[in-house]
């Protein structure tokens, strides 16, 4: 029985290869879409249980808060560490070299980012010197920076171009970011005392929601009402700005799925139609119609699932090798094939195989033997 199925698949090698490879390519595409879809749809890996939160102005992150809010935020029970965080928006040498550079409080930033690792002497050097800066490991590698390099940040909307000295590097945090002293920025702007964001850490993730409410309550009915969100939610709001990306991905995914269905169904239908006589012979040799049906459906399953294995496996290997997580943190770190995604795609391929083989195989298995033997194809 198995051998018969295998032989049938090998009989028209070209068709088997063509069909299986179009299934492989389509499922590669489908699993890539599924990967992006899931990555965009939920708080990022590990962020669901992050003790870090962002405090921003309710009216949007382009508005600033008074720097004095810091004392009142620190006083909220459950808040462990606070740093101001101003998006500086500079680039290094060329506008193409843009990256996340922020003015923060050197004394507390690594208390907020307690998971990030930085050598103690480097952290000391960073804290001591007003023009010092630190960069994440990914940035160091990307721009081939070394400790001690002088880095000038150009093109910032603040209209200043600070000359900074790289004093340290960290890893295990947002490794594509760059930090320098908020005090330096504040002084350069004539003590403007305004802050984009406060980045805070609370005692435990479980109390985060409640602490957030208390903070927002503190500033209700002031000129600068705040919104405190979990880090993951805050980042998701950037993705939602892109518009309905998930809707478009879903639409493409549905189209690709139907295309696979048509391609496989066509190929299976063709090969069954050519073998109506053969099916009748099998039946007259004593094969039950159920076995003939199983034979045809099995063929379609092997074709589709085989193709899907190549496509989904290829996606897994490719995205693993590309190591998109090295490009950046957060959403990039999520660009990998999760077991759920792989399982979903494989299950889909099985459903597609059954759907496409179902009708023609049923007909071929049930056909009147005498009539089929008489037919000439």
């Amino acid at each position: 029985m198995w051998q018969l199925g295998l032989r049938n698949l090998l009989r028209n090698k070209r068709r088997t290869i063509l069909t299986a490879s179009s299934v492989a390519i389509s499922l590669f595409l489908l699993s890539s879409l599924a990967m992006v879809y899931t990555a965009l749809g939920k708080p990022f890996e590990g962020e669901e249980r992050s003790p870090r939160m962002m405090v921003r102005r309710l009216s949007g992150i382009t508005f600033m808060m008074p720097a004095s809010f810091r004392q009142r935020i620190s006083a909220v029970p459950g808040v462990v560490a606070v740093t101001p965080m101003n998006w500086f928006g500079g680039y290094w040498k060329e506008p193409e070299n843009s990256f996340g550079n922020f003015a923060i409080d050197a004394n507390t930033v690594f208390d907020v980012l307690d998971m990030a690792r930085i050598a103690p002497d480097q952290l000391e050097a960073f804290k001591r010197e007003r023009t010092a800066a630190v960069a994440g490991r990914q940035l160091m590698e990307k721009f081939h920076w070394k400790i001690g390099d002088r880095i000038t940040l150009m093109g910032s909307p603040y209209g200043i171009a600070p000359e900074l000295v790289l004093r340290g590097t960290f890893t295990g945090g947002p490794d594509d970011q760059f930090y320098f002293h908020y005090d330096y920025l504040n002084e350069a702007l004539g003590e403007f005392n305004q802050v984009n964001l406060f980045w805070i850490r609370v005692e435990r993730p479980e109390i985060a929601a409640r602490v957030g409410q208390v903070i927002d309550q503190t500033f209700r009915n002031t000129d600068s009402e705040t919104k405190t969100e979990a880090e993951g939610t805050f980042l998701l709001s950037f993705i939602s700005m892109l518009g309905n990306v998930r809707g478009i991905i879903l639409m493409i995914g549905v189209a690709v799925t139907f295309a696979v269905l048509l391609i496989v169904a066509n190929s299976v239908a063709m090969s069954i139609r050519e073998r109506v006589t053969e099916a009748a012979i099998l039946r007259s040799l004593g094969f039950t119609s159920r076995r003939v049906l199983a034979l045809f459906v099995g063929e379609s399953l092997a074709l589709t699932v085989g193709g899907a294995l190549v496509g989904v496996g290829g996606a897994k290997l490719l995205y693993g090798a590309l190591a998109l997580r090295k490009i950046g943190t957060y959403v990039w770190a999520d660009m990998r094939m999760r077991p759920e995604t792989i399982l979903f795609c494989m299950a889909l391929s099985i459903i597609l195989a059954l759907l496409s083989a179902g009708w023609p195989a049923y007909r071929a298995a049930r056909i009147n033997i005498a009539e089929a033997l008489r037919s000439v194809g």
Binding site: G60, A269, M270
Partner: protein, 387 residues
């Protein structure tokens, strides 16, 4: 001599299930291609179509976008008296000081919001944009906390419809009118009086200044005057230049769309190839007969390629039809140059549809060529002997 097309049509009709299934897989590919390109094209047009050739936008040196620029009130006084500015009917320089503020508003049906541009305009501002017209309600009056919203923003964001009150700065503002600014970038904005806005947000500088040059040669002279005035630190550019520099945001969407379409196309042409190989195998005897009748290898090759192209054209045409309803649908994304929402329409243009068809023909030719080659090179004797 060519084999009549009728031969191909009849064959396609006989095998209609296979023909349709193959055509439909091409349909889906073409539809996805057209929809994604219509999206990219719509975004591009909404940015590229903005700007009058004689309008000059003045921002601070080094600013990438209006919202990050600032122009002091003193500078405005200097700008007003530059040479080469057109005059309004009242005989004053045609200049509008503008203030751009981005506020985070929730989209309809969502809790997450997006940054919407609020533009404060001087009294001469609206006339600098001839596409602008009020379609519902009336224009705002200054001093009364009134705003007008574009139709696209009113439809996509909460509390932005006619008569609604939207909250920003120190309180609520009433939407007294809905406007249409064609397919330009202004069609994604909320407008208010520049002085109202500045007071409410405690701003003492403008973001930018828009003015109308008297004629094309004055633009160069205005550039020189501003560059030579050391006090100003301002950068003039034409309104067109400013918006055109933002159209690069459509490029990644195009690239991604093309990537997806090409992958789908490979799958679809394999399906076409399968179909055509089966067609050739079934008609081996016929092919032998045709050769005996005197048709050359070339005309048999052509005939089979044409048959495949016919399937693809059918699929492509259906794909275009399937994609057509998205034309004019409004969607939005964030323009990361200005960090604000840009609402735009999907644009399915005739040239886009024809590239969809060309794409289909390409898939058909690739899928048909190898089977046709095989058909053309069958030896007559073995072909005639085949069952």
């Amino acid at each position: 001599m060519a084999i009549p097309l009728k031969y191909n049509f009849r064959n396609l009709l006989v095998r209609r299930t296979t023909t349709l299934m193959t055509a439909f897989s091409i349909t889906l590919t073409v539809a996805v291609f057209v929809v994604l390109m219509a999206l990219a094209h719509g975004l591009q047009v909404s940015l590229a179509a903005t700007g009058q050739p004689l309008n000059v936008l003045i921002m601070r040196e080094g600013s990438q976008s209006e919202s990050m620029s600032s122009v002091s009130r003193d500078s405005l006084q200097v700008i007003k008296y530059l040479h080469g500015i057109a005059n309004t009917e009242k005989g004053e320089p045609w200049v509008s000081p503008e203030l751009i503020i981005l506020i985070n508003l929730p989209r309809r049906g969502e809790t997450q919001g997006s940054n919407v541009t609020i533009r404060g305009l001087g009294p001469e501002g609206p006339a600098l944009r001839p596409e602008f017209k009020i379609v519902e309600g009336r224009f705002f009056r200054s001093g009364l906390r009134e705003v007008i919203a574009s139709r696209k923003i009113a439809g996509r964001f909460q509390n932005c419809g006619l008569g609604d009150k939207v909250k920003f700065a120190k309180g609520y503002w009433t939407v007294v009118g809905i406007f249409d600014a064609g397919d330009t970038a202004y069609d994604s904005e909320i407008w208010a009086d520049v002085n109202d806005l500045a007071t409410d947000f405690d701003r003492n500088a403008y973001s930018s200044v828009l003015l109308r040059a008297a004629d094309a040669t004055s633009i160069g002279s205005l550039r020189d005057q501003i560059a030579n005035d050391r006090r100003l630190h301002l950068k003039p550019q034409t309104e067109r230049e400013y918006y055109e520099s933002q159209t690069r945001f459509a490029a990644p969407i195009k690239a991604l769309g093309l990537f997806i379409a090409v992958l789908m196309a490979v799958g679809a042409s394999f399906a076409a190839m399968n179909t055509m190989y089966a067609a050739v195998a079934r008609r081996t005897k016929e092919i032998g007969t045709l050769r005996v009748l005197g048709y050359s290898r070339g005309s048999i090759l052509l005939s089979f390629v044409l048959e495949s192209v016919l399937i693809a054209l059918l699929g492509g045409a259906l794909g275009c039809l399937l994609a057509l309803p998205v034309n004019g649908l409004t969607t939005g994304t964030t323009n990361f140059a200005t960090f604000s929402e840009v609402a735009f329409n999907f644009r399915v243009t005739p040239s886009l549809l024809s590239s969809g068809l060309i794409f289909a023909v390409f898939m058909g030719s690739v899928g048909g060529f190898f089977p046709a080659w095989r058909a053309a090179h069958e030896s007559i004797v073995s072909a005639l002997r085949s069952v």
